[in-house]
Symmetry: C2
Subunit: 550 residues, 2 copies
């Protein structure tokens, strides 16, 4: 068996190591265009500020180590230029010498990754306008930061640019983030990004939403970034992070099919239409595990697993890739935002019925010092309660809850299963009723009809005549510190006595701070015959939709 692998980072390196473990006798050649293999892509932003201080830490392994330990023939600075499928050969170019040669294969694995999108805007070839993909890129970005620049403009507010923002802030470089959409972190639902947007602002980042770059000009001071709005942003460094495009040229030239967004098409065995050619990682299209839709998900975890699975199939094992769930996480200073499965907007787009709940628990028992707040949003099928997706934002413990929900989605569990989950509790780690259990109770109550809930959007978007009668059941003190416009304050502990103040001919929407008192108020009123629903997650959910700073 002679296996050629194009690309030596996440998917390619995983496949190569797996291949060797499966076969000591196979000839395995890894071609990598860059100078490094298997580097820590996800760590690159943290090198800018010195949070990761040693560059060598970013090299997970070296070509030499792969040669010694795995007997891999690793050829860096080497580009595969073309595939001859009938001859089962590739044309290879040594980028240092320019020498070209042909290499034959029994099986070929494509793991070329994806390239950052770089729109052809006026002035985009000026110096100090970068994208970030590899160590070479981060070296250039860091070198520029080391020159003592004062201002950086980051175009696009996805994961990588938010991570870069943290590291520029750490260096004291004035950072402006420009995002075309009306929200940061496009995979998330907008309201769940509010706390991160607030934190960006709190740490001094200038956040510009709904705007985008139209061109760049050289100035005596560096650059000027011209936005569609007409605004001009001075900068000595620009990083474009508006998405990636699969590296599909080799595949397309060889007649292999790609999807509408350019991802190489593969079957469940990660095999292209040519049975001797496999493809993995950021370059391919995959199935979304929840929606069944075809998506491109440039994430390290799936790329690694795909590499392993492709190697298994190449060496005669029939292993299938189950699809991608899109679990992803951002850390911004001490704030965390994480997502798994479907978002609300993706469900709307897919016209798939769903319900949602919000909860705002502490990450561990409130009586133990250091409890941090979080907001969780859980999406599920309206009838069965089957989990469809979840998002969390807050401090410590968000990662844990999203991982728990990721497994629950993988297992096909329902919100009723969340009610029963027996998670590790002592006061430093959780609560006797964990946030996960609470999400289950709130969602279960919704489906069972015990706990009718109304979305903030429905309350806000109706006309004045449509609007339900809004009752704030918190204390007068909480009410006076801020409430939903139009609400009347009747504390839950007085509700039974003051029930005569409520209208019997109009829908009532009650709310409290996080939903619990509102739930009790809903139970009290329903049993007295009122048409009532609780605003799920209460005032805190309202504040996600309508941030106090906006």
């Amino acid at each position: 068996m002679k296996l050629l692998i194009v690309g030596g980072v996440a998917g390619g390196a995983s496949a190569a190591a797996r291949a060797r473990r499966l076969s000591e006798s196979a000839e395995i050649i890894v071609f990598e265009r860059g100078p490094d293999v298997s580097f820590a892509n996800c760590g690159l932003p943290y090198y800018v500020s010195g949070e990761i201080a040693e560059r060598s830490k970013l090299l997970v392994t070296t070509p030499e180590q792969l040669r010694t330990r795995f007997r891999l023939d690793v050829r860096t600075r080497t580009s595969v230029e073309a595939i001859d499928r009938s001859a089962k050969t590739v044309r290879v170019r040594d980028l240092a010498s320019g020498r070209e040669y042909t290499e034959s294969y029994d099986k070929l694995l494509l793991a070329p990754g994806a390239a950052p999108v770089r729109p052809p805007l006026p002035g985009s070839d000026l110096p100090h306008i970068h994208t970030l993909r590899n160590l070479h890129d981060i070296d250039r970005i860091k070198a520029r930061a080391d020159e003592g620049i004062r201002q950086v403009v980051l175009l696009g507010a996805g994961f990588i640019n938010l991570e870069l923002a943290e590291n520029f802030v750490r260096r004291g470089i004035a950072t402006t983030l420009v995002e075309r959409n009306q929200q940061i972190l496009p995979p998330f639902d907008r309201e769940m990004t509010s706390p991160i947007a607030e934190q960006l602002t709190a740490t001094g980042v200038t956040l510009i939403l709904g705007d985008s770059a139209e061109g760049f000009e050289a100035t005596p001071d560096g650059l000027s970034v011209k936005l569609a709005s007409g605004r001009q942003l001075p900068a000595q460094l620009v990083v474009i992070g508006i998405g990636v495009r699969p590296e599909n040229k080799l595949a397309v030239d060889a007649g292999l099919s790609v999807g509408p967004r350019g991802g190489i098409q593969v079957n469940a065995h990660l095999q292209t239409a040519d049975p001797d050619i496999y493809a993995v990682g950021d370059a391919i299209e995959v199935q979304d595990f929840v929606s069944g839709n075809t998506v491109q998900v440039p994430l390290a975890g799936p790329a690694n697993r795909q590499g392993r699975i492709a190697a298994d199939n190449i060496f005669g094992r029939s292993v299938t890739y189950r699809g991608t769930q899109g679990t992803a996480i951002l850390g911004y200073f001490d704030r965390t935002a994480a997502i798994t499965g479907a978002s609300e907007k993706s469900l709307i787009q897919a016209k798939r019925p769903y319900r949602k709940v919000y909860i705002h628990p502490a990450h561990h028992a409130g009586y133990y010092p250091g409890a941090q707040a979080m907001s969780l949003k859980v999406l599920f099928a309206p009838d069965t309660g089957k989990l469809l997706g979840a998002q969390g934002v807050g401090g410590a413990g968000v990662d844990k809850r999203i991982d728990v929900l990721a497994v629950a989605i993988q297992a096909g569990l329902t919100v009723f299963d969340l009610e029963e989950m027996e998670l590790a509790y002592s006061p430093q780690f959780g609560s006797a009723k964990d946030p996960i259990n609470m999400a289950g109770f709130v969602a279960g109550g919704l489906i069972r009809g015990d706990h009718p809930q109304i979305d903030v959007e429905s309350v806000l978007n109706g006309t004045a005549a449509d609007r339900p009668c809004l009752i704030d059941v918190r204390t007068p003190k909480e009410f006076s510190a801020g409430h939903i416009p139009g609400a009347k304050n009747i504390p839950v502990d007085e509700l039974r006595e003051r029930i005569g103040e409520l209208p019997r001919d109009q829908q009532i929407a009650v709310y409290c701070q996080v939903g619990q008192r509102g739930y009790l108020a809903t139970r009290i009123l329903r049993q007295s015959g009122f048409n009532v629903a609780n605003i799920g997650g209460g005032y805190k959910t309202y504040r996600l939709h309508v941030p106090a700073t906006s």
Copy 2:
């Protein structure tokens, strides 16, 4: 509906609140023998050191709050003395006045909890020998500590006494922990407790295993604790934490059946043999979700859920309790130990076939600063790979992995599902191949036969003649820093060249530091026809079984 609830802490309070949400009209009376309802049991130890500074924080709610918000008739310092099942009444005693009266019920819920075992040893009635169950107990323990005592002896090394140990250490009080078994934390397998035992010693705790108290004597300095070994321990305070016994007298006197260890017996609806009497919490027997065995699990999470479920059933909803999984966690300073599902010793006792793997990953990407080490042990069915149990010990991130595995066990997942899990990865939170994925790979490789593994016990326990040929495939530097006695050092990177040094007529056991290089060595040797297995989890697993300090 008139519902009487005996006990107002975790299960009782949960049931009462749920009952009110289900019915505004029901008459609900909660009898609590102590002065407080719904206090934070699990927080009590942290009050001793002031880690939880305000006593009021330990009161989750008050009788007054329950009266106002839930219209509950809460009667504290009130004991239910007897049940007349035919008359459907209970005899109640007001402990303050001594007044006795009768209260009738439609439904009765028993949530009396469990009492700490206090063996009748000579001198056990001396002052300053305590158990810990409620606020009154912790007040007395804290008051004694506040008197400036120098020495405390904790009898029993379960969760509560280890938490107390941390808090006595924080106060600078010399702490001795005495445990009858040869390990701390009895629910865990012994080797998984080694890192916590080491941490106890490192923080100055004197740990005495395999010994127990035989009596107490008053001394001018306070107390002397006499151990079975003859050792005498001076102390000014003793806390006995050797287990709890269900409070079953009321049930037994009423002719309700209890199990061999005293737990009140209930069906899946948490109903006793008397259809009008339910029971929940530490006082009852439950099914172990994994083994199906009958167990008593005094944990807050299950008690809370049972309270809710009993109320549902009492109000006509048919809801079943799925059993208890035994998920539990200990924090000791910055160390964590957590468990879910079956332990190895419980599987051995149940004569249930199993296999196990150990891994020793970092809690997040090693290239990002602050990665902390952990050890995970995963138990699974040998044929199907169905997950049976897991234990973790280490620093940050142990709680997350045990929660993920708890959900996986709940969902009936297998080790092959662990391989596929898509968990949240960025370098502050995890790894592209999360510890959970790694556990799946190692276990999957074992079942598939790709990665034969041998347990440390098998290597250590055999006679010299039985023992496999031990090959340490780490570097000479690692080898010289400590290795398994009798091992020969052949670094994995030299293995192919030095393959002639290995015996073809003897079983070979290879090992490295955590198992990964050993796995590659196993693959290399197997493909060359050797009879070889990897010591799962490598030298670190050996060091769990044979701690360096022992």
